[in-house]
Symmetry: C2
Subunit: 367 residues, 2 copies
């Protein structure tokens, strides 16, 4: 990432490097296209219509979202094909919004139970054919989703409820751990292929077979999936960095922070800095394997050892120089999606110069 | 908490029980008044002017905030005495905003270094006397703050920079762990008393001696502190519950969530539920001693074992009944302040009936 500590930015501030962002978007588009699959990026990562527009311009066939509210924002901004990759429990309120969306966009939603398909069919009433249904498969993450063999029953219940099943999907979230991407990608593809085979054999036309994820997208093959849904790849983050799924040069989003407290250490208290970028802007995800709560892009030797809302406490190895009070540092959050749940606007830079501000239009659209 | 699963609430939704909120506010006000101290609640916990008004009506002398932006919101809504309990690195932009605030409110800010006092004195220029300065003391949390003996140097540098030192403060954050509240409260009072004594002996009038925190406020005595700054007590949360600092009946804030995925368990995947309240609305703080990522208020036997943005995965003990798909459950987040960093509005209930919606006016005011 080019150095960018522009004057006039008050901290903490989320900064996006447009050149790196575009490169990440183009690279994933080329990889997925080269494999003969469709790219349907998960836009919960950024929640910004301008970035979705760049992804669509680079060849994405549509967008993935997590909520109806996110779908509404992106369709309002011109998206014409959205997949709500979530096992929605559809209320009458949801149904009205889904039908409204379907007036201008192709809309698909997930499901993983007989009960949910019945509720959905009832709520959608005579608009059942307007929404596509993808059955969620558990490929080893053990969150939502059913086994490939149980997918047939869910698909049949959807059909019985008058719904239109067009495929299956999975999220291999267990790929987010060291040594796991290859194994998780194998399990993902095996589960998708098996589910598609069984649901197809039950008489359904399985035209969409949809896989995750930033760690696994480049490991997925067209023999198992028609599309992939990576999200984090646009920005990168400290998790992807420590998993080896991106390099420091690929990090497009950092948080400008100021050193507000500095301690050289003594018998009573450790050597440390405190930055004004806490969990209020970074989120507090810290998987057990992570080396801290985030990284500093210009100081790979430092670690954010504790995190509170307004304070990131940073340790430096003995013998290194501690940055000065008031200095601006650039933080890489562990999980960049959480940052975008927290901030209303971001600063956009090109070659270290502020060129724009973008509103995080879908932030807080949690329903 | 009275049962409140009103129809018409779409999930996930933050719900505040007004009766319990008022009781929590009144109880802390009485405890602190009974000890002869002032109460200056930290309003970053709720970020809602209507709740600050209840706290002030119950006798709070002023408000504590973490950022200038939070101060601006609460002063706009009528607060006349705010303490930014944070070691601000004051830029010219900050200085203009602090001076603006001081036109209608008494304003104090924290500092913990010679360098920061110099920067602040320079930025405030001829408005230096409009802002009070409290020196931050490290009472064992080892985040920001200096030792009591180093406080004198910081106070002197502030005076040399033309600033007006009126006291000392500390935050005993190490009280947020099992068995620690009493020890941390002792260290807090010892450090505050020592710092006040030394700074006073150096010729400063130490009129404000300010301590934390929800776990320690009721353990603090007027011999060591003139005021306390608890925040979380208004709502309670799963951390305070597991620390024994509040009871289930004291929990004023819960998150209504829907069961979207349900699995009875088999050889391949564990028994579990998935709720639509993930880290997007709960935050993902999980101290090592916590039993999970949050609790369910009506199901003390259940545990949120994993948490992603849109999914809370909940385990129930074997032999218990799993709630049904589509059922509404009420979640207690681990750290309630993080929830208020994420949501724009909350639903207010009295005796289970929706009576209001409040805007989280200071959400996102991170600077």
């Amino acid at each position: 990432m080019t150095s960018c500590k522009p004057d006039g930015i008050e901290t903490p501030e989320v900064m996006i490097d447009l050149g790196i962002l575009q490169r990440n978007i183009d690279r994933m588009a080329a990889v997925v296209k080269g494999k003969g699959m469709n790219l349907r990026p998960h836009v919960k990562t950024h929640k910004i219509p301008q970035i979705a527009a760049l992804q669509l311009a680079a060849g994405a066939v549509g967008l993935t979202v997590a909520t109806i509210g996110e779908a509404e924002i992106f369709v309002d901004h011109g998206a014409t094909d959205v997949f709500i990759a979530y096992p929605l429990w559809v209320t009458p309120h949801h149904a009205r919004r889904l039908i409204q969306l379907s007036a201008t966009a192709r809309v698909a939603v997930g499901t993983d139970s007989v009960e949910a398909t019945r509720a959905m069919g009832k709520a959608l009433s005579d608009a059942r054919d307007k929404i596509e249904i993808l059955v969620e498969i558990d490929s080893g993450h053990h969150r939502s989703g059913v086994s490939p063999s149980a997918a047939v029953e869910v698909a049949r219940s959807a059909a019985d409820a008058g719904l239109r099943v067009t495929g299956v999907f999975t999220f291999p979230g267990h790929s987010y751990a060291p040594g796991m991407p290859v194994k998780a990608a194998d399990q993902e593809q095996e589960a998708l292929a098996e589910a598609a085979r069984l649901v197809g054999a039950a008489g359904f036309e399985v035209s969409r077979i949809s896989g995750g994820s930033t760690p696994t997208a480049s490991l997925t093959h067209a023999s198992a999936a028609t599309e992939v849904r990576p999200g984090v790849y646009v920005f990168g983050d400290a998790q992807q960095l420590e998993l080896g799924r991106c390099a420091l040069d690929d990090i497009a989003l950092t948080i400008a922070a100021t050193v507000v407290s500095r301690h050289v250490g003594d018998a009573h208290a450790p050597r440390r800095l405190v930055l004004d970028a806490g969990s209020k802007v970074m989120g507090s995800d810290r998987p057990a394997w992570a080396t801290g709560f985030g990284r500093l892009i210009d100081h790979p030797e430092a670690r954010i050892t504790t995190l509170s809302e307004h304070h990131a406490t940073v340790s430096w190895p003995d013998g290194t120089q501690l940055p000065a009070l008031g200095e601006r540092l650039r933080v890489i959050p562990n999980h960049v999606c959480l940052t975008m749940n927290l901030v209303d606007e971001v600063t956009v830079l090109r070659d270290g110069v502020v060129v724009d501000r973008w509103r995080v239009a879908a932030r807080g659209k949690n329903k």
